[in-house]
Symmetry: C2
Subunit: 224 residues, 2 copies
DNA sequence: GTCTATACTATGATAGAC
DNA sequence: GTCTATCATAGTATAGAC
């Protein structure tokens, strides 16, 4: 005996709660229903994981019947693939715009890059969790567009650290270890920040992590 | 039409390959079959996730029929719960024994602690991935024993950083941010190290991360 | 584009012989 | 403790009316 009340609710009801529109960046291409599906999928994939979430769960969260999902997405995997792509795209834009606004000094650039990395993971933690953790559930083809963006994002930090060391601004312990350490401590913010919101504002945490990163690369601590 | 050949193979066949015994610490309590089930579950949960792995997949990996699993575990969740507990227990033991062998100086203690954290994640990356990522799929009751250990492990680094700052050995940017950053950059090793094995030995990576941690806490860089 | 209804497969778990 | 066989349910996806 299974409760299917969410599937049976009358039409024109208020939408089920819990799909906070602010958890996903703007999606101008998407119709309102498609966006509600993405929001519901985002919430459920993050909370339970991709395979623990059924197409009926997503439909209930979006306030439609499960069959209606297939007017907007070819499959359940396509919903995840779109979320993973949005997450990687948003993140990459954040990094680039931070770099572009940060001057030529490696130290300033590192502060800007780490700050954007952290702020992005504070702003869209649910999306980052899905993009990073549930990514593994996608087939190679479905993942490809996001994977390409990911490689670009990783290259940015690698280039910055390499240049900084060449210019004498950084004294690295070891390039690869430093790069991965800075990247992963920032990405992990998405996992823990929502439960520690009271401890820091996103800006405070971004500043703290930027200072930690400066120390890690052996740069002077003073930030403009 | 579904291929079930793995379920139909004759008895006394060689076990299906791919369950590397070294991926799991010793389990003296477990019978050989129980251990093979744990190994198969570990591999599959790490590769595909808990919900994407069926009881039949695990049985095939362990070289038994699916019904036989229930002579060793009460449920699929119980298999995951035991793996998550083993992972947390092993990790906690590593941290404690590192601390006990590291003298009284906060700097030495931090080097030992971060080194053990990293080495453990290099040694048992699959177990760490399951313990940290699939943990979320367990009910509160099933998770409780591991969660208790986890709180102890987290407290160790918190205490060390607090003491180090009080004694003037560390100059922290911010206690909580530093603690979480050091912890998460180390835990993430489990995710990426297996694909970057050629770049570092576990000891090299442990040394690099220990030095990074010393920089992060504002301690002198010289390590004995 | 949304609905109701349903096809088909896979799932976790149990029964009972050996 | 392991097997074969099976139950009951949940899963993704499709068909066809409106």
């Amino acid at each position: 005996m299974q409760d299917r009340s969410l599937d049976r609710q009358p039409l024109l009801q208020p939408r089920p709660e819990g799909t906070d529109d602010s958890t996903l960046p703007p999606t101008p291409e998407a119709t309102p229903t498609k966006r509600r599906i993405l929001l519901a999928g985002l919430k459920l994939f993050a909370e339970r994981g991709y395979h623990a979430t059924s197409i009926r769960d997503i439909a209930a969260g979006a306030g439609v019947q499960s069959a209606s999902l297939y007017s907007h997405f070819a499959s359940k995997e396509a919903i995840l693939a779109e979320l993973v792509l949005i997450g990687h795209d948003e993140h990459h834009r954040d990094l680039l715009s931070a770099l572009l606004g940060s001057g030529v000094e490696p130290r300033q650039q590192l502060v800007a890059l780490v700050g954007a990395h952290v702020r992005g993971h504070c702003r869209y933690p649910t999306l980052a969790v899905v993009a990073n953790h549930e990514m593994a559930q996608l087939s190679e083809e479905a993942l490809a567009p996001a994977a390409a963006i990911r490689r670009h994002s990783e290259a940015i930090l690698l280039e910055l650290l390499t240049r900084g060391e060449q210019q004498g601004a950084f004294r690295l312990v070891q390039l690869d270890a430093t790069r991965v350490a800075i990247a992963t401590m920032g990405s992990s913010v998405a996992t823990w920040y929502p439960t520690y919101r009271d401890l820091f504002t996103p800006d405070q945490l971004a500043d703290a992590y930027a200072t930690l990163a400066l120390r890690m690369v052996g740069a002077d601590e003073a930030v403009s």
